[in-house]
């Protein structure tokens, strides 16, 4: 056995020593035990892993969460003005008191920690995550499947009248939360899922979603503004025939964020777009790692990730499109760009295409650059102060990612949050 694997397994063993399967595991026990065995065998990520070359996993794998101050603001939270079904977690624990009544026509919602054996969920829990471990290991997701203490199971049979909104509040400076959600959007239904808030001092969150034939799953999330928090999130999404998945993530601040998204097309003629806008100032590492597998005909995948970095912030993008033999007429696209507002910040990108079919269109583009000086001068020559001109151009840079949010009101909300961040950060 090689030394790296041994040290990773030892790290896993140490971490698991102090952990135990949740007492109420019940129906999910088998999946959890399976995941536990997988973590023991792969070990936890190490900074010497190729997949963690650019982002140090230490804060995510160590025994306890690093203390993180709770961000306080009088401003309304994102999505506050939207009519939605609120499901609130505080430091990773569901709060019935703060949440709405979970009844909504067209969907069934149950709390993971309390759910009885629901057949659709027990068939899914840990399944997509396990599948997503190949060809690249994602031990933090397996750890999550094994140990998650809370989360929701959402089954959407008919398009509901409003979005479901998962809100992750923080109160404690040391909470170490592990949430696991399972979503199933049945044939022909359309679900919009909103997520916002930092979650915990350290958050490990996993979302498994099965989007059935002809179904749509729209996902918009804002990861909270806390500075010192760290987060590892995974989304595992499987798409049926003619289904649609669109996901957008806004990240402002946060000491360490690793967002992994694993998408697999299993039915023909489906569409998946995953996008993100991240703004980092100072002690900030943001990593978008995406893996899209085309295993069906005539599917379209699109990745659009934009990052604005300053004062030494780091942005990472690892994106892969794998086109399996026979996945003809695949249209795969990935774009990762960063706007570096100073010479101290850095952007590390690893775009990958692996194609085993001959009738496909796949492309990627990755750029890293500063503000366009000619455009900046043009704006200033019209009387717009440098700070505001920079903001306008920053918003313009991010617009392509925000455009991926289909709903106009949500798009406007995201743009408003971006403007707010810029206001606070650049004109101080």
């Amino acid at each position: 056995m090689n030394a790296l694997l041994k040290s990773k397994q030892e790290a896993a063993a140490t971490r698991l020593d102090s952990a135990s399967l949740p007492a109420a595991a019940g129906w999910s026990k088998a999946a959890r035990e399976d995941a536990l065995a997988r973590v023991r065998s792969t070990g936890l990520p190490s900074r010497r892993d190729e997949y963690w070359k650019y982002t140090r996993p230490d804060a995510l794998t160590q025994a306890d969460a690093t203390e993180a101050d709770v961000f306080k603001s009088d401003e309304p939270l994102v999505f506050d003005s939207f009519d939605r079904l609120k499901v609130v977690f505080v430091d990773g624990v569901f709060s019935a008191e703060l949440s709405d009544d979970l009844a909504l026509e067209g969907i069934e919602i149950a709390r993971l920690a309390e759910a009885a054996d629901i057949s659709w969920a027990s068939e899914l829990y840990g399944t997509l995550e396990a599948k997503g471990q190949s060809p690249v290991e994602r031990p933090l997701a397996a750890l999550n499947t094994a140990l998650a203490t809370d989360g929701v199971l959402i089954r959407c049979t008919k398009t509901p009248s409003k979005p479901v909104s998962l809100i992750y509040r923080r109160d404690s400076t040391t909470a170490d939360a592990m949430l696991h959600h399972v979503v199933k959007v049945e044939a022909g239904a359309s679900l919009t899922l909103l997520e916002n808030g930092p979650g915990a001092a350290r958050l490990n969150k996993c979302l498994e979603a099965l989007v059935a034939d002809g179904a749509e799953f729209h996902h918009v999330r804002a990861q909270g503004r806390d500075h010192a928090r760290s987060a590892a999130t995974h989304m595992f999404v499987e798409l049926g025939r003619e289904s649609v998945f669109k996901s957008f993530t806004l990240t402002v601040n946060g000491k360490l964020t690793r967002n992994e998204c694993v998408i697999e097309f299993t039915g023909d003629d489906a569409i998946a777009h995953v996008a993100g806008a991240a703004l980092g100032d100072g002690d900030f590492v943001h990593d978008d790692t995406v893996f899209v597998t085309h295993d069906a005909v005539n599917c379209e995948s699109r990745q659009v990730f934009k990052k604005v970095l300053r004062n030494g912030a780091t942005g990472v993008f690892q994106g892969k499109i794998l086109v399996q033999p026979g996945a003809q007429k695949t249209d795969g696209y990935q774009k990762s760009q960063s706007l570096l507002l100073d010479g101290d910040s850095q952007f590390l990108a690893k775009p990958e295409l692996e194609i085993y079919a001959d009738d496909v269109a796949c492309s990627h583009g990755s750029t890293s650059g500063a503000i366009d000086e000619d455009a900046l001068f043009y704006l200033r020559a019209r009387g717009i102060p440098e700070g505001i001109a920079t903001d306008l151009m920053t918003l313009a840079f991010l617009a392509e990612a925000v455009e991926e949010v289909e709903d106009d009101a949500l798009k406007g909300e995201i743009t408003g949050r971006l403007e707010g961040w810029l206001l606070r950060h650049s004109r101080a």
Binding site: F377, Y378, R380, A381, R382, I384, P385, L392, F397
Partner: protein
Amino acid sequence: MLEIKDLRVKLEEEDKQILKGVNLTVEAGKVHAIMGPNGSGKSTLSYVLSGKDGYEVTGGSATLDGDDLLDLDPEERAALGLFLAFQYPVEIPGVGNMTFLRTAVNSQRKARGEEAMSSTDFLKEIRAKAKELKIDAEMLKRPVNVGFSGGEKKRNEILQMAMLEPRMCILDETDSGLDVDAMKLVADGVNALRNEGRGFLVITHYQRLLDHIKPDVVHIMADGRIVKSGGPELALEVENNGYADILAEVA
């Protein structure tokens, strides 16, 4: 109004003197034209006056109604009432034309201690002014200059000028890339803005723009200096005989 005295400018990056002592005074209400061959320093003069990076002033001064321009940021010069219509208006993807113009108008107002223009007033005004310049609503909604034709870009410059109401307007080769009809439209836009309180400096290669925007004074620039000044007839002389004769005469 605009007073340029013995202005000397070199490129920041290389040891190349572009302006070698420019003297020029534009009075309120007057239109001055600067003509000259390629490389004479005409565009540099417009960039230095508006505050573009990359140039180093090695001597002389430029003031607008007594305020020293050369020490100010570009946005401060704009707020004082200086406007440059660009030879090559910049395309800015993602920034809407309307957002851009409203931000510009209100930034200048703020800098001058004036109240911001309300959205309603702004809309009303921009629609009226755009109509005069045959700029349709669709163009206003598009990102700044993106996908605009040459003529549309120049009309957009004049629209900005009309909205910002500067005291001193510099037009850098506004006729370049325009056909006759487009030039007339642009010239009409400029002429509509002529008044007693406003000065114009029109930089051009060709006399034809000056058929539409009638200058009070014409200057010939060559090798970083103004070598000859005169009335509108000087522009005709250039048109008929080229620059060679004039340059030979002053050499």
